[in-house]
Symmetry: none
Subunit: 197 residues, 4 copies
DNA sequence: AGATAAGCGAGACGGTACGTCACGTCTTCAC
DNA sequence: GTGAAGACGTGACGTACCGTCTCGCTTATCT
């Protein structure tokens, strides 16, 4: 930080000031972490970041946009496990996702993004695009299982991931992220072998 | 309606006036249906119901409480299919749920409840209790399949339902309720037979 | 004051709270007195009066309306002198007006009202109506002079007052209110006798 | 205009660019004419003149300074009538002034200057200096009347002009510039002969 | 039967946040 | 160093809701 404490942040000419951008994202993240979505307002972010509201609105057209940007700036979890076996891949996938959401702020932030998407159409669209992209990435480990002959040809890798992700969303959105290893094992077994066993 | 148009609603003494209660719930539902969660405010409900704000606050302590009450007053879909076969039961379950959410207002209202639950802890608790109850009810058709020998003994009916419900939630929350029958069939097959086929 | 310091001002039901009204007018007056028109904002008045902005906007549709109201709540100067002689009446009229504007806040407030009237059409209309009314009231002493035979029949009392008032406005608006008794005497003489002497 | 439309205005080295200066003054005048003082902002002038804000602030330290400059660049009316008679000189003086203010933009601009002078002390000083200078110039026709023996020796030409100007200001500031010839005649008669006739 | 108590619509209250506008300052880059 | 350009922090704008309060009323229930 070049400006550490001594002087205020200023314009650096007719171009975006990355210090302001960082300060705003950090403030937004901190507020979400501390007070949740309820305390998250443009005004509060501006106050905490020592930024002007117009500066925020200049670069993020809405609360939802800022929220999504905060989420995207989170460190990402590896979502394509590769343990060599479908069943353990499933367990690894869910364990990593639950841990990611549980340990840092990512869970609280993602809950906020989902909530926002129920109000703001742009947020809905952005969230849909995001999850579809994620699903197709994560589906890779199922595709690998198919290549290994471990999964049937007729299964849809995306649909399989959607099933796992839907399960995880439900747990997240109802505050039930405490992962039970046996439960996950059972789930992985159910999914890989099917209800019919 | 006893008071049809001619006179205003009044107190009926030191007791809750059911007409007011009904008017408020109807107004709340109409607003959610027409404008979604974004337009849903106590102020707007009071305006539309020709009710005083204190009347609303007297009986519903928060926005979330009113929202949940609206949802509970919706007609419920039958969630325990019984077609005689596990695979068609799964299809029937999801088809009914998607249709229920898509056709009436129930989808918009449930999305609102979920969103509210991300902000309001009481709403989270209420939602969690609600879904756990629902899951255990719906799990009945999986239990029946087990009884028929159509599903393995070691599978958890609740977990199975949670998988289906999670899938449905994800579709609802990202506005992807347009149900594709083939997709549902494939999903049902995946779940019943497992990825390994 | 019934609420002296101990408790906050509250709603007294579905009716205007006169305490709030008074607090707002006093705050507005104090701000004008201390900081002039430059510091006069609805926000500042609300802050000082411990009132909500919507409360101000509820009762005064604009800055101009509040400004005029503040001016109208000033103590009024007697503008119809009656010394028995036209010339001394003129001197008394101007002396009183200058003194009124100079001594209290009235001058600063009236300057603000005039300035506002150059921006806001409603304020222009209100100011015009106000001055025309004032002129016709003040014209009384000229009418009395006519009745006494001290002024010619063909003179217009209103026009005469407008001449005096215009002179006073000019002095007020250019910060030249320091009254010079000899100058006023000369002016009174000029007006009563005419330039031709 | 040398640069008509084809290219942007640029620096012409370490000296003031008169094209920019002209463009800014023209833009300021046009805005005052079209939207009045309410629409007059440095931002709006910069936008309309395709000028940078710092360019404006470099040469005019405040809104008031720009306003006064715009006023000074107006074509001036001849304010020293010479009809040979005091009474018709008075009528000519007022008719010319009213016409000047009414016909072009000058009235709107001068109103703005006066309003600004109620907020900005520098503008007050500049306005006072300006009007005192004007008064002494215009007083010339009264002095001539004195030289002709048409006005008494003891009258103050400046005071007489101040009376006329004050009358005119009042009309300008309350949007009553519609000149009534008979009224002006009566006024001229009152002033020249005096109220006592 | 009269008093009491609570519910009702209404709407004002002090607040907070909204999204926009203009302020005056600052920096960049072309000339 | 001047020019256009435009980002910056600041703060006011006028509006929407928040949750609380009091009003004036209506009516069932309890003396």
């Amino acid at each position: 930080m070049t400006n550490a404490g001594t002087s205020r942040r200023r314009s650096i000419g007719a171009q975006r000031n990355p210090e302001s951008q960082q300060a705003i994202l950090k403030a937004a993240e901190a507020i979400l972490m501390e007070d949740g979505l309820a305390g998250f307002s443009i005004e509060a972010v501006a106050r905490r970041a020592h930024a002007g509201k117009p500066t925020i609105y200049r670069w993020w057209p809405s609360r939802a946009a800022l929220l999504l940007d905060v989420y995207h700036h989170q460190k990402h979890v590896e979502r394509v496990p590769d343990t060599g076996s479908l069943e353990t891949d499933i367990i690894a996938f869910l364990t990593a996702l639950f841990g990611y959401w549980r340990d840092g702020n990512a869970g609280a932030i993602f809950r906020s993004v989902i909530a926002e998407a129920q109000t703001d159409v742009k947020a809905t669209d952005a969230l849909r695009a995001y999850v579809l992209d994620r699903f197709s990435q994560s589906a890779e480990f199922v595709r690998r299982a198919q290549a290994r002959g471990e999964a049937a040809d007729w299964v849809s890798p995306e649909l399989a991931i959607e099933l796992l992700a839907g399960f995880a969303w439900n747990r997240l959105l109802t505050s039930r992220l405490d992962d039970n290893p046996e439960e996950l094992q059972r789930l992985a077994r159910q999914i890989s072998l099917g209800l019919k066993g």
